[in-house]
């Protein structure tokens, strides 16, 4: 405790220095001049309490951590680990089938708002899974992932605006465009490593956003692009009236009365299908030679080179494929919102997607899905605490990193096994 005293005193002092001028002093405009006034006595009480808490926490830190370590940590996989591989596979495939079924039936039983939120979650799942290829599997820290999301969204918005291209045609184009941007960016920057790569990708993300913001004549700049066509189902629209010549209306074809919920459910199912497609492709990829090469490259680049693996090509493939999924997600996002502007593609989005990957457990698909749900749903649930939302969000992240630094469901990569006949 003696040893902690100096540290605790210092921490308390820092807390005071930080909080007193910010909270304890107010600037008040009195006529033409600005005066400094002390805050309410209540505020000073809070500041004193905060300083006290920090001081005593630091003082008794060791004892407290002994106490908390006695609390049992949540254990997510009890029982399951002891199963044999064949049984695990069975449990896994039945489990996923059930989950997909539930995800399909679920929207018919809940409110419109919930479905809308779930669709948003699915977009983040897709983005998380895509970034997971780059960060989790190939080990390349990309802080500008949102740029490819923006490229996908604007691809569809612009194609729809200027050429009247439909969602279904634009979807693959958006993916290809994003992949192309990933390729072009990746070519020069993948020689860089770690921190340098992170900074360059961060810059790239900003360049794309600012470019979209400033080419007002093409993209509408900060005003964005509005009234983007919604996706159709085999030429059936989900609106009240037909917007485009030649299309029919879903509720008329089905012979049911109009309900705006149908559109929301349709978008949800569409997102779900896109996510399932993403999961399927990535599951295959990690078992393919290129997946193995990503992993190997993350582990030891020099050994890879000595074995004849072209590191630029392999990193580039991860970057390109990851970008393509962001492109798909962006295209869907544009179609769902019907309106996009550069404001949707700020750095904070990149940070959230990266947080999803890290929280979920690098390289783990199930973890990413879980984390995407947590990161999207929790802030919504905490809507009443409006002002403290970001605070709670941050607190959650800190607690997560203390308790489970490896993520919610750390990656259990499918190892190739030698089966002896």
């Amino acid at each position: 405790m003696q040893a902690n005293l100096g540290h605790a005193f210092f921490s308390g002092l820092i807390t005071f220095i930080l909080s007193f001028p910010l909270l304890g002093l107010n600037l008040v405009t009195g006529g033409t001049s600005i005066e400094i006034q002390g805050a309410e006595p209540e505020t000073f009480f809070y500041i004193a309490a905060a300083v006290g808490i920090v001081f005593f926490y630091q003082l008794f830190r060791d004892k407290l951590s002994n106490l908390t370590s006695a609390i049992p940590r949540p254990n997510f996989d009890s029982g399951y680990q002891s199963l044999s591989q064949a049984k695990k596979n069975k449990v896994n495939s039945w489990g996923s089938a059930l989950l997909v079924m539930a995800a399909l039936i679920w929207p018919f039983m809940v409110s419109r708002g919930s479905i809308d939120l779930a669709t948003l979650v699915l977009i983040y799942v897709m983005l998380g899974l895509g970034l997971n290829i780059v960060v989790g599997l190939a080990g390349l820290l990309d802080l500008g992932y949102v740029a490819f999301y923006a490229v996908g969204a604007y691809s569809y918005a612009l194609l729809s605006l200027y050429f009247g291209v439909s969602f279904w045609v634009a979807l693959p184009i958006a993916g290809i465009m994003a992949a192309l941007f990933g390729f072009l960016l990746g070519f020069p920057v993948l020689r860089l490593r770690g921190d340098y790569l992170a900074i360059v990708t961060l810059g790239f993300g900003e360049i794309i956003r600012i470019f979209l913001l400033n080419t007002t004549s093409l993209t509408g700049g900060p005003n964005g692009i509005g009234s983007i066509d919604k996706p159709t189902l085999f030429g059936m629209e989900f609106g009240r009236r037909v917007k485009e010549e030649g299309n029919t209306l879903f509720h008329e074809v089905m012979g049911i009365s109009y309900d705006s919920t149908y559109k929301v459910i349709f978008l949800y199912i569409l997102a779900l299908l896109l996510v399932l497609f993403t999961i399927f492709v990535i599951r295959r990829l990690v078992r393919m030679p290129v997946g193995r090469a990503w992993e190997a490259l993350r582990e030891d680049e020099i050994a890879c080179r000595s074995l004849g693996l072209n590191r630029t090509a392999i990193k580039l493939s991860a970057f390109t494929i990851g970008a393509a999924f962001a492109g798909f997600a962006g295209c869907f996002f544009a179609a769902r919102q019907g309106f996009i502007s550069p404001e949707s593609f700020t750095f904070i989005e990149s940070a959230i997607i990266l947080a999803i990957v890290v929280l979920g457990g690098m390289g783990s698909q199930a973890g990413v899905i879980l984390a995407a749900i947590a990161m999207t749903v929790l802030p919504e649930l905490a809507r009443e605490f409006q002002e403290y939302r970001m605070l709670m969000f941050g607190l959650m992240m800190v607690l997560m990193m203390v308790w489970r630094p490896q993520g919610l469901l750390p990656s259990k990569r499918p190892h190739m096994e030698l089966i002896n006949e």
Partner: protein, 256 residues
Amino acid sequence: MSNDTILQVQDLMMQFGGLIAVNGVSLKVDEGEIVSIIGPNGAGKTTVFNCLSGFYQPTSGTVEFMNEAIQALPDFKISLKGMVRTFQHVRLFENMTVIENLLVAQHRHVNTNLLAGLFKTSGYKEAEEQAMHRAKYWLDKVGLTEFANREAGNLAYGQQRRLEIARCMVTEPKLLLLDEPAAGLNPKETKDLDNLIVSLKEDYHVSVLLIEHDMNLVMGISDNIYVINQGTPLASGSPEQIKNNPEVIKAYLGEV
């Protein structure tokens, strides 16, 4: 046995700023030969390896591999041409299983077409099966079959050394560069390594260029030995000649 030259190095020089690490080294490896490079610590042996395998760009000099100049090629291309190396410190993919280590090494043999893999075409499956087969064969050869599904980082040191050689061999190289393969091995393991290297030469017709400090091993299996001291060639010849060369003895033991 044919006596075609597989590797011909002439006047190799490697300069790092003011330091000349390798100066005027020439050497030759014939097909099916085991050639060793020896020399005191810091003599520049590993630098020679790094130049040959493309990890360094030699300052001057030529490296001809199978009658083709390769000194300006990037490392992975040299590896693809059939010159594969190991490292002084084992470099395995530690978190991957033993069998996966061997599968990654066969990247050149398998079908890396993305669409073929996504749709699991028959050509893709066949290539994967062959890779698995080759991996299994070499695991058996180096006696690691029972550890196939274990993480490579959990193997004992001697086993890791053997796995590294197996990982080179699944690439089906023509010339194997081994950088101190016996370092840290016990006498029995060294003996096994000795047998393995001879077997690579006799059964698989792989030429071997070896850096090693274990003189029993070197003298026992080498067809030809080059001695390097302070970056410059000191002597070359058969094991007998080297053993009796006063210059070599002086370099190793100092003035007597």
